[in-house]
Structures are given as structure tokens and as C-alpha cells.
Symmetry: C2
Subunit: 151 residues, 2 copies
């Protein structure tokens, strides 16, 4: 099983915003072209990012901006902004083991701290990477095929 592709899409969106000079205004249509998907899907992901206060965007107004500096946004921020459904779990637990069995009775209590540690290890790794760092691996801004609309 694999985590949703919303996470990488969200990262790409943030990089795209950080990469594009302020005088250009990114719309969900333009971003959708870069991600190669639907503008509505972009708006959904941007909606999550907005809820986590990572981007600035408002209805009717063209242009999506970062709410923080690229160096202040980590992959963990983005990850957590996306994972609204899984409440801090990553690994599932078996919902209802047989409590009459000595093993089933305690299994979740025993597994939870181990699973939490594993999840935290992953999160710490993600927290060590910023959008700024990722951005540095891309070329400077230029307009490729005109799919960045100037305002």
C-alpha cells in the first residue's frame, strides 16, 4: 500500500510558488499544467495547505503565495498538512482484538509506542528538509512554454 500522491503534489506546488518571482501570479490552472492534472485537484491540495497556513490564497483573487519563507517550510509541514485522515498513526492497529486472549488483550498497548517511535523517526527526517533546500536543485526561473501567465 502506498500513501496518497497528494503529498508529492503539494511539495511540487510549493516549490513552484517559491520558484516563481513575485510579479507573476500562479493560478491553479497553471499549476495544474505543471503537475499534469486537474485544476480542481490543485485547489483541493492548496486548500489543505491553506488550512495549515502554508500558503496565502483567497477566492476571486488571482495568485497563490507562500505564507512563510521557503526556508521555514519543511517536508514534515507539508506531510502533516496532507494527512488529515490518518490521525497521527501511519501504521494501523487491529481495531478489535479478542480481549479474552492474553495476547490480543495487550497487543495494541505494546505495539503503539513502537509504531509511534518509527513514525517519529520518519517525521524527523522529513523535518530536516526545507522547500528552500529543494528549490536550490532547480534552475533559476524562466518562462518555458508560456504556461506561466504574467499579470
Amino acid at each position: 500500500m502506498q500513501l496518497s500522491s497528494r503529498f508529492p503534489v503539494a511539495v511540487q506546488i510549493l516549490i513552484l510558488i517559491a520558484w516563481t518571482p513575485d510579479e507573476y501570479k500562479l493560478t491553479s490552472d497553471v499549476i495544474a499544467q505543471s503537475v499534469n492534472t486537474n485544476p480542481v485537484l490543485i485547489r483541493r491540495v492548496v486548500g489543505y495547505l491553506k488550512k495549515s497556513e502554508l500558503v496565502l490564497v483567497s477566492p476571486g483573487k488571482r495568485g497563490i503565495k507562500l505564507a512563510k519563507k521557503p526556508g521555514e517550510i519543511t517536508l514534515l509541514d507539508v506531510y502533516q498538512a496532507m494527512e488529515l485522515t490518518e490521525q497521527d498513526s501511519l501504521f494501523g492497529l487491529h481495531p478489535d482484538p479478542n480481549l479474552k486472549c492474553p495476547i490480543g488483550n495487550q497487543i495494541n498497548k505494546v505495539l503503539t509506542p513502537r509504531f509511534d517511535r518509527a513514525r517519529k523517526s520518519m517525521e524527523e527526517s522529513l523535518a530536516g528538509v526545507t522547500i528552500e533546500e529543494l528549490l536550490s536543485e532547480f534552475p533559476p526561473f524562466y518562462i518555458p512554454e508560456g504556461f506561466i501567465a504574467k499579470q
Copy 2:
């Protein structure tokens, strides 16, 4: 989104086998009662464990045994035995970004090593926990309600 519950079920199965003395023979029916699910589901999970050479089981023969000592089986072994579908990925990548976009063009190449590092952090954490360690948190073996069939 949440990873499959096969992982915690597999761990519970292994603990159950390690916990039960050798003179008792565990069947998928008995295990299913502990996990509170269906024997077929147990056999499916056991099938994955068998493929990864963590358990010994053969058609017609009653009894499921560990293929290694409890101290030699880590949560990572179990995790990897379950995650057959996600080939080493954990996080998905966007399948086809727009290659004409300077960002979409390199996004997967830039993200992959970061995602891999995060996954490895998690895996190293899982690798530090053995079935033996988990077993030590449970009481010694006893027959609770007769759902362990003596042979």
C-alpha cells in the same frame, strides 16, 4: 490514509506463536480467534510470512512454527513481509509530471532521495525491535478459555 492492518495482525501472529509452547499446535482457526477475524485472512497473512521465511507451515499439517528465534525477527522483517505491493516506496510519487515544466521535469529526481531517507529512518526504528522484546511484555503462557487446542 493508513497502511494496511495486515502488519499489526502479522506481529500479533508471531507473538502468539512465540508465546505458545512448542507442544501446542496453533492453527489458523485458533489464531483467528485471538485476532478476532477470519481463518482465511490469517492464512493469507501467514502466507506472506512464509514467503519471507519467517514461519514454517505446510499444507495439511497442523501447527505453525517460527522459522527463526524470536530474537532474530524484527518488526522490519514483518513490515517488509507485508508490504509486497509498495515496492520500497512508502510515499508515492506523482506518476507523470509535465516534463516541459522545469519543476515537473526534475521533481521526482529531487524528491526520491529525501523520501528514501525518511523511509529508511522509519525502517531502522522498526529494525530495532524484535519479537522477543515484545514477547517480554506479555504474561507467561496459560490456556485462557480453551481456544488453544492441545495436540
